[in-house]
């Protein structure tokens, strides 16, 4: 027990950034010796997702997969992290807290490229992770920060997906590709934001269960609406998009979403949104324009859902209305409540955990939808605010707010 404690304190003394860079180095090593090590251990191919997929094919490969993870990831990451610790600590002291986030972002991007940039499957996972993060943090704005219960997030995602796809396939010249991709995404986001107004307006008068029903209805209206427009494929779906979504794009939009939503929730306006969650009448009495803040929050939330939709459409290259049903909305909810309410860090953790969980449980097929809600249930019973609810990683918080955030976490 004491040794366990000692090991824990030893491991937590190493800064997160050092681990991150260490993992990057491990990934770089894997690029060179991944295949030989895998065949030496008797694995049929190189493990793409830490051996999870291989183990799903044959449980007998479990020991080899674990050995691979130890040899390629854990041990090199630990050694590199330890060696880098003095350097990283020096860097952390020098860099101002405003720039610190940039350092983390760059490091994360480098690691993502090294680990996943050269494998198609890993690229896919990384892109899905980013898209899920955008969905999660944008839903968290409404469900976590504002305390409303929106259950129709996938509807807005669908609006963004269709608008962006229609633009890149029919409107913009195909040769422009990546140049106009941001425009298509922004247009999708804007369309979704307008749909968000649909929800904002009833939210002036109603709250709680009734508003949940309205967001549910909105989800159905959007899905069935698209289904009935034959011009865009109806229920057969829409295709013909070029594969424009890649790791750099997803990374760019994820960081943009993170920064904008973080800035907003830390601003006086964001505090107004939080006040709505806590007590709407008191918020009004304290001069908060609750109507305005609700419109802003709902539209911002659906705007980013629309962006995520556009990215999603240009990753899978095929969308149809039944992609954006209640099931997808539920996935968003699971991420929010798993990661943590009213937390940006929680959205990061929630999206990453959920994306990997979904891959792990893929062989279970429909049964995974028994297991995931069950996990959520256990989670909510044990720790009802989620993994990171109402708490933030220090590097996400600007210096002037650090003091406030340091101690309000519980």
């Amino acid at each position: 027990m004491a040794q366990w404690q000692k090991m824990r304190s030893h491991l937590s003394a190493i800064p997160v950034l050092a681990y991150l860079l260490g993992f990057g180095i491990a990934s770089a090593i894997e690029l060179f010796i991944g295949y030989p090590v895998a065949s030496l251990l008797g694995l049929p191919t190189m493990p793409t997702l830490f051996g999870i997929i291989l183990v799903q094919q044959s449980l007998a490969l479990l020991p080899s997969a674990i050995a691979y993870d130890l040899l390629i990831y854990l041990v090199p990451t630990y050694i590199a992290a330890r060696l880098l610790t003095p350097l990283v600590q020096k860097l952390l002291q020098k860099v101002s807290s405003q720039r610190l986030m940039l350092v983390y972002v760059l490091a994360l991007f480098l690691v993502a490229l090294l680990w996943g940039g050269f494998h198609e499957y890993r690229t896919m996972i990384l892109c899905l992770m980013g898209i899920n993060f955008i969905l999660c943090i944008s839903l968290n704005l409404v469900n976590g920060y504002m305390g409303e219960f929106s259950v129709g997030h996938a509807g807005f995602m669908g609006v963004g997906a269709y608008i962006a796809s229609i633009l890149t396939v029919w409107v913009f010249p195909r040769s422009l590709g990546h140049l106009v991709f941001p425009l298509a995404l922004l247009a999708g986001g804007a369309g979704a934001a307008i749909a968000g107004l649909l929800v904002a307006i009833p939210s002036f008068k109603i709250r709680g269960d009734y508003l949940a029903i309205i967001t549910l209805a909105t989800n159905f209206i959007i899905k069935n609406g698209i289904e009935n427009i034959e011009r865009i494929g109806g229920s057969r779906g829409f295709m013909g998009m070029a594969k424009l979504t890649n790791v750099p794009w997803v990374f760019f939009w994820s960081v943009l979403t993170l920064v904008l939503i973080r800035n907003f929730v830390l601003s006086p306006y964001g505090r107004g949104v939080i006040a709505i969650r806590e007590d709407e009448i008191a918020a009004e009495a304290m001069t908060v324009n609750t109507r305005r803040m609700k419109i802003i929050a709902f539209c911002t939330s659906s705007f980013f859902a629309g962006i995520a939709g556009g990215l999603f459409a240009h990753l899978l290259l095929y969308i149809n209305p039944s992609t954006f049903t209640l099931l997808k909305s539920t996935e968003c909810l699971v991420m929010v409540y798993l990661g943590g309410m009213a937390s940006i860090s929680g959205s990061l953790v929630g999206a990453a955990t959920f994306t990997i969980l979904l891959e792990m449980l893929r062989p279970l097929e429909v049964w995974k939808w028994v297991l995931i809600p069950l996990l959520l249930l256990v989670m909510l019973l044990r720790r009802h605010t989620g993994l990171m609810g109402f708490r933030e990683f220090q590097f996400l918080i600007p210096r002037e707010e650090a003091e406030v955030y340091g101690s309000t976490s519980h």
Binding site: L260, N263, F264, L266, S267, P268, Y269, G270, R271, G272, I274, A275, R277, E278, D279, I281, A282, A283, E284, A285, M286, T287, V288, N289, T290, R291, I296, F390, P398, E400, E403, V404, G406, S407, T408, H410
Partner: protein, 255 residues
């Protein structure tokens, strides 16, 4: 010209007459009390002034401007702030942020500045944060600044509510039963506090209270309501001996 001028204020909930023909001319700097048995319509008067309900009939003028039909946040931004009968703090938020939320209408930076965290928003927010700490110091609450509001003892929560209300920079403060649930010692300290903030912030105060001790001691002028109607008004001495007031409170038959 009175600061707050209410004329013929009447409000019905369906068929129930909650407030009937309520009149008031509150001068700047005055401190007046509103008393009456439970269900007399006192809180409804506050809810009508602050815009939570729209009156069935009557006019409310503040500083010469009509308030009827305005949103509650607009009325609050014009300088009328209130506390609530049952504490309504933002519970899962730090005490500091409870106060900072109330600066909402004073924020000059735009929403776009907020999304991009522009330098002038940051400096404005810093100034507001300092102001919030200053308010908390006045109320002896600075050591709770980073504590969640719900974790504070009852009396402290009541003080946070007043501090938060003052953050909106009110000219008129409406206090709805500030002494409810307090022991005599706490009530004494509350009375001192009310007198002090009244002078320090140049406030006009209108308060609802059940604790006769408090009302009689600090209010020069008292109004008494029963079943939605104003049954008496005057100095504490006049109220104490008014037979209709005694009837309303004690249920005595008066011929």
């Amino acid at each position: 010209m009175a600061l707050l001028h209410i004329n013929g204020l009447t409000h019905y909930f369906g068929g129930l007459r909650a407030v009937y023909d309520f009149n008031l001319a509150l001068e700047e700097g005055e401190l007046i009390g509103l008393i009456g048995p439970n269900g007399a319509g006192k809180t409804t008067v506050f809810n009508l002034i602050t815009g939570i309900y729209r009156p069935t009939k009557g006019t409310i003028q503040f500083n010469g401007q009509n308030l009827v039909g305005l949103q509650p946040h607009q009325i609050a931004a014009r300088g009328i702030c209130r506390t609530f009968q049952t504490i309504r703090l933002f519970n899962n938020v730090s005490v500091l942020d409870n106060v900072r939320i109330a600066f909402y209408s004073q924020v000059r930076s735009s929403l776009l500045d907020a999304f991009f965290r522009m330098p002038h928003l940051v400096s404005e927010d810093k100034a507001l944060t300092r102001e919030a700490y200053r308010l908390l110091e006045i109320f002896n609450l600075e050591r709770y600044a980073h504590e969640l509001a719900m974790n504070l003892p009852y009396g402290e929560q009541k003080r946070v509510e007043i501090a938060r209300a003052l953050a909106t920079k009110p000219r008129l403060l409406l206090l709805d039963e500030p002494a409810a649930g307090m022991n005599p010692g706490e009530i004494d300290r509350l009375m001192d506090l009310i007198q002090r903030i009244r002078q320090e912030f140049g406030l006009t105060i209108f308060l609802i209270e059940h604790q006769m001790r408090l009302v009689m001691r600090i209010c020069r002028h008292i109004k008494v309501m029963d079943f939605g109607e104003t049954i008496a008004e005057g100095t504490p001495e006049e109220i104490r001996t008014n037979p209709r007031v005694l009837q309303a409170y004690l249920g005595e038959e008066v011929e």
